[in-house]
């Protein structure tokens, strides 16, 4: 077993231990640690955004930055695909 393989084995062990610890220490499924923001959105979404669909009000209003990033990802993907295949077309 050479030096490279031993290094890889040590790195793999450390990463596995961290992942297993994260899996064991995670809080129970279905009981989030803080519910204050969820309850605020449930209570106030109709008065503040006027939308019946709470998910849309979160996506486009409360967390609009998230959607802006998503739209940027799509824009970048389309731009790169068009750039790549326009050269193939010629």
């Amino acid at each position: 077993m050479n030096r490279r393989n031993m290094l890889a084995a040590a790195f793999l062990t450390i990463v596995s231990v961290f992942l297993l610890l994260g899996m064991l220490l995670i809080h129970p499924f279905g009981s989030p640690t803080s519910q204050a923001m969820d309850q605020y959105i449930i209570d106030n979404t109709v008065e503040e955004t006027g939308a019946n669909n709470g998910v849309t009000s979160v996506v486009f209003d409360y967390r609009g930055f998230d959607t802006l990033g998503e739209a940027t990802v799509l824009f970048t993907a389309v731009a790169s695909v068009v750039m790549l295949f326009r050269r193939l077309k010629k």
């Binding site: 006027g50 209003d61 930055f65």
Partner: protein, 156 residues
């Protein structure tokens, strides 16, 4: 890519308006029912991809250029960011919902959970912007890939 048989073309022509209307419904009712700009845009883009497969990419290319699709995608993105910046001007913060609780378009507030299309403030407008962006963006990807393979087959 050449077009497929007459049967496929006819069925695609019949189902294309239905798919488009369903996708536009998903976009327009994004603030009332599940769905929104991304989902409805993907539905309409899949209908356009069906037309592109049935009729062949060269037929589509004679109708619309991917240059125009890029233009419309940029318009959708600019409308989305522009609405967010209008939030700074009229509401004080980025992405502020400045149209809600006014007498303007989409300004109503639903009373008792009643389904009213004229609610939501800027949410329906943002849904339209994102929907336009997703429709032309995904269709541009499909069209550009189809045209690239088509030209390559011709030359070889």
């Amino acid at each position: 890519m050449k077009g497929m048989s007459t049967i496929v073309k006819t069925i695609a022509n019949i189902s294309f308006p239905i798919i488009t209307i369903y996708g536009l419904y998903i976009i327009a009712h994004g603030h009332l029912t599940p769905g929104g700009g991304f989902q409805g845009g993907a539905i309409v883009a899949s209908g356009l991809a069906l037309i592109a497969v049935a009729h062949g990419s060269s037929w589509i290319e004679s109708k619309i250029k991917e240059h125009d699709l890029s233009l419309f995608e940029s318009l959708g993105a600019l409308a989305f960011i522009g609405l967010a910046f209008f939030g700074i001007i009229f509401g004080g913060v980025f992405f502020s919902n400045f149209l809600v609780d006014t007498s303007m378009l989409f300004g109503n507030i639903p009373v008792g959970g009643a389904a009213d299309i004229n609610t939501g403030g800027t949410l329906p407008l943002m849904n339209f912007a994102v929907g336009l962006k997703v429709i032309v963006g995904l269709f541009a990807i499909v069209l550009v890939m189809a045209l690239a393979t088509h030209k390559k087959e011709d030359s070889s």
